[in-house]
């Protein structure tokens, strides 16, 4: 089965047309539906999606804990689909950490190296190095139960990094930490990735985590890969409604394509180069790209202020258009905190050029 095929330049690990089904007969559940993805050498790649979208399943296929129902997993172009996890140069940081309770911190970190049969001297040196890397030198003799959550997290990282894997898989490793510690660990993880140069595949359902840490993000939903791209791509050019709404907040407006733009239900036309010639479309625009102008100003869309929600730095202004559809504008709060708007006030709405775009469903 191990048919080597030419690797795409710089590809670390790859899923090729992978399908994973659980259960049998009528109760079959398709966790992954024809997913193809190629993670590049040395990149910080994030699989982002709501729970149940298949991201953890994909990670387990990379690790070898599960086998795909069809399709293949390739490491550097080599088919490893049926290679057991203990023979894959891929390590995992588990969500629950899965530290061995009967072993000390140092023994936990040494585990993979010992199993690989590395000489004792090398193991000791590498354990030292790893302890230093995660700044846990003083706790080498402790048992996992004697450590705090953040310390356990570091041990789990050191343990998975110690054998210097080709790819490190991280399954929502920060979800058990409180907010402050999570922020610290985000920076820490990024540092470790840069220092070691190892390819990280990071699974999370937290879009902010994904945006701040990743080189590239793969957005998943319902077992399918929706979009792959840099955080900027994903945020500014979402390919469909799901991606647009899952990452950040956004407005959707029903519209009809007309030459050179789209016509909203209110009758206003928004200029949009490259839009399709005709048919019903959905227009999306981020709240921070919505501008308020005086009512009746040329080129603006008439709207009424429905509600104002004060968020400190921002004020969210909920608007109703003439046809009843809703729109949120995020306005920077002025120094006084008063946006100078009142409920029921008539205003004009414009979009920052290039911000509004059409998304598929």
């Amino acid at each position: 089965m191990t048919t080597a095929r030419p690797a795409a330049a710089g590809t670390a690990i790859e899923a090729a047309r992978v399908v994973k089904e659980f259960g049998q007969g009528a109760t079959t559940f398709r966790a992954l539906d024809d997913v193809s993805i190629a993670v590049r050498e040395g990149e910080f790649f994030t699989l982002l999606g709501p729970s149940g979208c298949g991201k953890t399943t994909l990670l387990r296929l990379f690790a070898g804990f599960e086998m795909p129902s069809s399709g293949a997993i390739l490491l550097k172009g080599e088919d490893i689909t049926e290679l057991p996890p203990n023979k894959r140069p891929v390590n995992t940081v588990f969500q629950s950490y899965a530290l061995f309770p009967h072993l000390s911190v140092a023994q936990n970190i040494a585990f993979g190296l010992v199993m690989q049969g590395r000489p004792a001297g090398e193991v000791a040196a590498q354990v030292e190095k790893m302890l230093a890397l995660v700044k846990l030198e003083s706790l080498a003799g402790r048992r996992p139960a004697q450590l705090s959550g953040g310390q356990q997290q570091r041990v789990a990282l050191a343990r998975a990094l110690a054998p210097a894997p080709r790819v490190l898989l991280l399954d929502e490793p920060l979800s058990a930490l409180d907010l402050k510690l999570r922020k610290e660990m985000q920076i820490e993880l990024k540092r470790l990735q840069t220092e070691t140069g190892i390819t990280f595949i990071f699974v999370t359902h937290d879009q902010e985590e994904a945006l701040t840490m990743s080189d590239r993000i793969g957005v998943m939903s319902a077992g399918k890969l929706q979009q792959v791209g840099t955080p900027r791509d994903i945020y500014t050019r979402p390919v469909n409604r799901f991606v647009a709404s899952f990452i950040g907040e956004t407005n959707f407006l029903p519209a009809t394509a007309v030459p050179g733009g789209v016509r909203l239900a209110t009758g206003d036309v928004v200029a949009l180069p490259g839009a399709p010639a005709s048919g019903a479309v959905t227009l999306t625009v981020r709240p921070e790209q919505v501008r308020l102008v005086a009512a009746g100003e040329a080129g603006s869309i008439a709207a009424t202020v429905r509600a104002l929600v004060y968020f400190g730095t921002d004020t969210h202004c909920h608007l109703a258009l003439a046809d009843g559809s809703e729109l949120v504008a995020r306005l920077q709060s002025p120094a006084t905190g008063d946006a100078g708007l009142a409920q029921g006030q008539a205003v004009g709405v414009t979009f920052v050029p290039g911000a509004a775009q059409i998304v598929g469903d």
């Binding site: 089904e21 049998q24 086998m67 795909p68 129902s69 069809s70 689909t81 049926e82």
Partner: protein, 303 residues
């Protein structure tokens, strides 16, 4: 599913069976298998000096309830057997009820101790549970026999002039069985009470219930699975008791267990012993099935 996945599932099932195989072989040879032979033997004829003669017969099954007159061959109720059955059932039920009556307060007491003391009290009830039944029966025997501690003390105090004949009575067997089977009642009751949410009592009292009403309407219905489990754990071995009635009941006050043994000893009627064993097994299995239904049907207490 891919062939690899199917192979994985098949391998898991195969490993499950392979790993269980040694245990299953031992159990089949020295526990379950022989039970089937008992059923076969119950349809055979007794040998003159014990064992069986091969030949189909329903005599052993008839012999459970009837005796055949030696002279005219007519069937009559086997009064002696019926007495033994009645005693077994009566004593087992009495034992079950009484162990519950005293076992429930005991279990409640243990479960409501502060956490540190609780482990000790639980340990104190576990020791008799694991102590040889023979030793415990013997300990009771030492107390209630004619020259036992109770009689000698009473005589020395001048309260009685000659020993009260307590031993070798149904009463002695009842006392003995209650004594030896009590831990079997207390432990499952404790397990149920331990899971009981004491805040429900506050709710009960808050809604004007008296202590008795709280016990009847709140506690007992919720710990019912524990009560059923304890009752089965006491009733089943009590019905098949052998050691306790043998020591405390003497030769006259036999229970089913001793009656079965008799058929393999002096009685020299292995088929009858076999049919009696099968009967006992059927009764016990029926009781267990009732338990399974209760335990499964009553899942409200988060079991």
């Amino acid at each position: 599913m891919s062939p690899a996945e199917q192979a994985q599932i098949r391998r898991a099932a195969r490993n499950g069976w392979l790993l269980s195989a040694p245990a299953l072989v031992i159990l089949a040879l020295a526990a379950v298998g022989p039970l089937i032979i008992v059923v076969v033997y119950s349809f055979l004829l007794p040998g003159k000096y014990g064992n069986v003669v091969w030949g189909f017969s329903l005599d052993a099954w008839r012999g459970i309830l009837f005796t055949r007159d030696i002279f005219d061959g007519t069937l009559a109720w086997a009064d002696a057997n019926l007495t033994i059955f009645w005693r077994s059932v009566k004593l087992s039920i009495l034992t079950t009820v009484f162990t519950f009556v005293v076992g429930f307060p005991t279990a409640w007491f243990i479960a409501t101790r502060p956490p540190r003391g609780r482990a000790l009290w639980l340990f104190l009830i576990t020791i008799p549970f694991w102590t040889n039944l023979l030793i415990r029966t013997f300990a009771i025997n030492e107390i209630i026999r004619n020259e036992g501690l109770l009689n000698t003390t009473l005589m020395r105090l001048g309260l009685i002039s000659k020993p009260i004949e307590m031993i070798y009575t149904d009463g002695a067997v009842f006392v003995g069985m209650t004594y030896v089977y009590l831990p079997l009642m207390v432990l499952p009751l404790f397990a149920a009470i331990d899971r009981f949410d004491m805040r429900l009592l506050e709710a009960g009292y808050d809604l004007y219930a008296s202590r008795w009403q709280v016990l009847r309407r709140v506690i007992l219905p919720i710990v019912k699975p524990g009560i059923v489990a304890g009752s089965i754990l006491v009733f089943v071995p009590a019905l098949g008791a052998y050691v306790t009635p043998r020591i405390l009941g003497g030769g006259k006050n036999m229970m089913i267990g001793n009656f079965i043994e008799l058929q393999f000893g002096q009685g020299r009627n292995w088929p009858l012993g076999a049919s009696l064993s099968v009967t006992l097994l059927v009764i016990v299995t029926a009781a267990l099935l009732v338990y399974v239904r209760y335990a499964n049907g009553d899942d409200r207490n988060g079991r």
